[in-house]
């Protein structure tokens, strides 16, 4: 198993949540103090460097017009880390292709990061969450098709080395594509795509890309991973290697249970801060009409992420792994076996007000006491044996867990 340290680079120094309608899209940036912001950026960069020192790989992402993630351009952060780090893999998850105007620019940026890092880039492509639509001003209808067309252009730009080619797609046009630099890794950096349903997993499996699932938890993980595995088997005639699947959750490890609880609750800011009203969480054509109807009804509290999330509940769902090293290992192992196995753990190891010192302690304990056991666990992975293990674990009765995580279904 590879473990990746991830922070969204939030700006948590906000006024009381009751004083604003939304943390995303329209929260005035008068609430952003650039002096504080500079400290934040440097702290997060230090965290990534610390994670590299601990032997972890690095993950970063991008969002727009939001205090939950103040990285509106992930290539900038990745570019800094490409220079500042020496050994860690750098996962960009991801480039929001459906919302970006020019795929060739993304191809150039990612190639540049791959070269500067001497081949340490892992390049993710995502459709983007619904509240990215207003900032991007891009019609979300057919967003998945847009994403795949942009992907096709980027792959071709990365792998064409004999001068310009022509691309006149439905959405993207470039008549003289000939990027400089070209990627360091050959034929191109490993590709990741986020998946949130059995259906969206299929094309990702067909390409043999890493399918990454965010916070689907026990209620959804089997159907999504199974969709990937079925798509892989149908196309490639064999079992999907576990390094093709990734799961992202919140992770907090502490010396004792009391500290773990305190740290885990601080991490929960990621969920409890995500106040987003219906006008930003339900743009036309993003969700299927049946889901959109439920959001319009307010049935999912507008954004669907429960602002009143509790630690116990999120741990029960498999969205948060939290406790002593032994407990965290057992929690991850249980989820790993229930899911049928995955080769990458994407750890939101910092969120909200969690301090550098808390993050350092948690990730240190993880890397020293949990990570080696996870590596052993996946080293002994055997597809047939896993099928037996999994068959012995019936589907959990999770009816009461609701629709949490549906934001990430794409």
């Amino acid at each position: 198993m590879k473990a990746w340290f991830f922070t969204e680079d939030a700006y948590p120094q906000l006024p009381d949540q009751d004083t604003y309608r939304s943390i995303r899209v329209n929260l005035p940036n008068q609430h952003y103090d650039p002096v504080q912001g500079a400290d934040n950026y440097h702290q997060f960069l230090d965290m990534w460097l610390m994670a590299e020192d601990l032997g972890l790989e690095l993950m970063l992402n991008e969002h727009h017009q939001t205090a939950t993630c103040v990285v509106p351009s992930v290539p900038i952060m990745a570019g800094i880390l490409a220079r500042e780090t020496k050994t860690a893999r750098i996962l960009v998850l991801g480039n929001p292709l459906a919302n970006l105007p020019r795929p060739t620019r993304t191809a150039e940026e990612m190639a540049m990061i791959d070269v500067i890092s001497r081949g340490r880039l892992e390049c993710g492509f995502v459709r983007g969450v619904p509240y990215e639509i207003a900032p991007a001003n891009v019609l979300p209808y057919r967003g998945t098709e847009r994403m795949w067309e942009a992907h096709d252009l980027i792959i071709k730009a990365w792998t064409t080395h004999d001068g310009p080619f022509n691309f006149e797609g439905r959405w993207f046009h470039s008549r003289q594509v000939n990027i400089w630099p070209r990627p360091y890794q050959q034929p191109h950096p490993p590709v990741w795509v986020t998946i949130g349903s059995a259906g969206t997993a299929v094309p990702v499996a067909e390409h043999e890309y890493v399918g990454a699932v965010f916070l689907a938890g026990y209620p959804r993980i089997r159907s999504i991973f199974d969709g990937y595995r079925a798509g892989y088997l149908a196309k490639h005639g064999g079992d999907a290697p576990i390094d093709r699947l990734a799961y992202c959750a919140l992770v907090y490890v502490a010396d004792d249970e009391e500290e773990a609880k305190a740290g885990g609750e601080t991490l929960l800011w990621y969920m409890t801060s995500n106040k987003v009203p219906v006008e930003y969480s339900n743009p036309p054509g993003y969700h299927p009409p049946a889901v959109a109807a439920q959001i319009a009804k307010g049935g999912r509290g507008g954004a669907g992420i429960p602002l009143e999330a509790t630690l116990e509940d999120q741990m029960a769902r498999g969205n948060m792994f939290c406790g002593t090293p032994d407990q965290v290992y057992e929690q991850i192992k249980a989820f790993y076996e229930y899911s049928g196995g995955f080769g990458h753990l994407l750890m939101m190891g910092q969120a909200g007000h969690l301090t550098m010192e808390q993050t350092r302690r948690s990730m240190t304990l993880f890397s020293r006491e949990v990570y080696p056991r996870l590596k052993e666990l996946t080293a002994s992975y055997d597809a047939d044996q896993m099928k037996e293990t999994r068959a012995a674990l019936p589907d959990k009765d999770l009816a009461d867990l609701g629709n949490f995580g549906v934001e990430f279904v794409r």
Partner: protein, 257 residues
């Protein structure tokens, strides 16, 4: 009064067309809220006209053709539809985004129409680049949207009280509205340079309380169309045909004479 709703097969799309009543042809293009041909005002008009009201692809559960990207696709489809129906001296009336479609059709050709009626219509850019001429219906809180849309906001549909199937239909309609109007938002920058081609009598009807597309917008739009006139209906918002059906029908009847 339920209309007869045949499906009309056109090249590249099938269109549901509500037809009811008899008399001169009234070709009616609905707005983003969805089809209006079954509403009381339409029944009243069907006593004097043959109401011919297509359902824009994507609305009322109909599929969006694979090749559709924007308003131009709808406009070309309706050119074919007007030919297929052999419209002759029809009065063309469009509501909101349907008014935009009607305007596009009129600048292309008025050969099949005798008069044009635009109701709280979008389609042109009036103000500067930082003026929000038309409220951003895709990014406005539901309560504020109701307040902008209706003179009496209590008339706004309440999602909490709607059946799931109706709510899903409403969401599908929103997708279609987004497809036709997303960018440039609710207008075609080229239209002002083409409006001089409209050579039939044109009436703009506006709800006085319309906060989505204001009467001031309507007056500016009216000034761009040769000889056009405008009537403002009091105590009505973006849908005067719903909030003041009698006054609305009265104005249509007198303009049609």
């Amino acid at each position: 009064m339920a209309g007869n709703t045949p499906k009309i097969e056109l090249r590249g799309a099938t269109v549901d067309v509500v037809r009811k009543g008899s008399g001169p042809q009234l070709f009616m293009l609905h707005g983003g809220g969805g089809p209006v041909a079954e509403m009381p005002f339409a029944d009243k008009l069907a006593e004097s006209f043959e109401v011919i009201a297509p359902v824009h692809p994507g609305f009322n559960g109909s599929p969006i053709p694979e090749h559709f990207d924007d308003m131009q696709d709808l406009v070309y489809l309706y050119r074919d539809l007007m030919d297929a129906l052999d419209l002759d001296d029809a009065i063309m009336m469009g509501f909101s985004m349907g008014g935009w479609a009607a305007t596009e059709l009129a600048v292309m050709s008025t050969a099949r129409i005798s008069k044009l009626i635009l109701v709280d219509s979008v389609g042109v850019k009036i103000g500067g680049r930082e003026d929000r001429d038309v409220a951003d219906v895709f990014a406005t809180p539901p309560d504020e949207l109701a307040r902008l849309t209706w003179h009496d906001p209590s008339k706004a549909p309440n999602p909490m009280e709607m059946a799931d199937a109706d709510l899903e239909m409403m969401q599908s309609n929103r997708v279609a509205l987004g497809l036709y109007t997303w960018q440039p938002y609710m207008h075609n920058p080229k239209l002002p340079h083409r409006l001089h081609r409209i050579d039939v009598p044109t009436l703009l009807i506006w709800g006085e309380s319309d906060g989505l597309v204001t009467p001031a917008y309507g007056r500016a739009f009216c000034g761009m169309i040769p000889g056009a006139e405008m009537i403002v209906i009091p105590e009505a918002g973006h849908a005067p045909q719903v909030e003041q059906p009698d006054a609305f029908v009265g104005h249509v009847m007198s303009f049609a004479q």
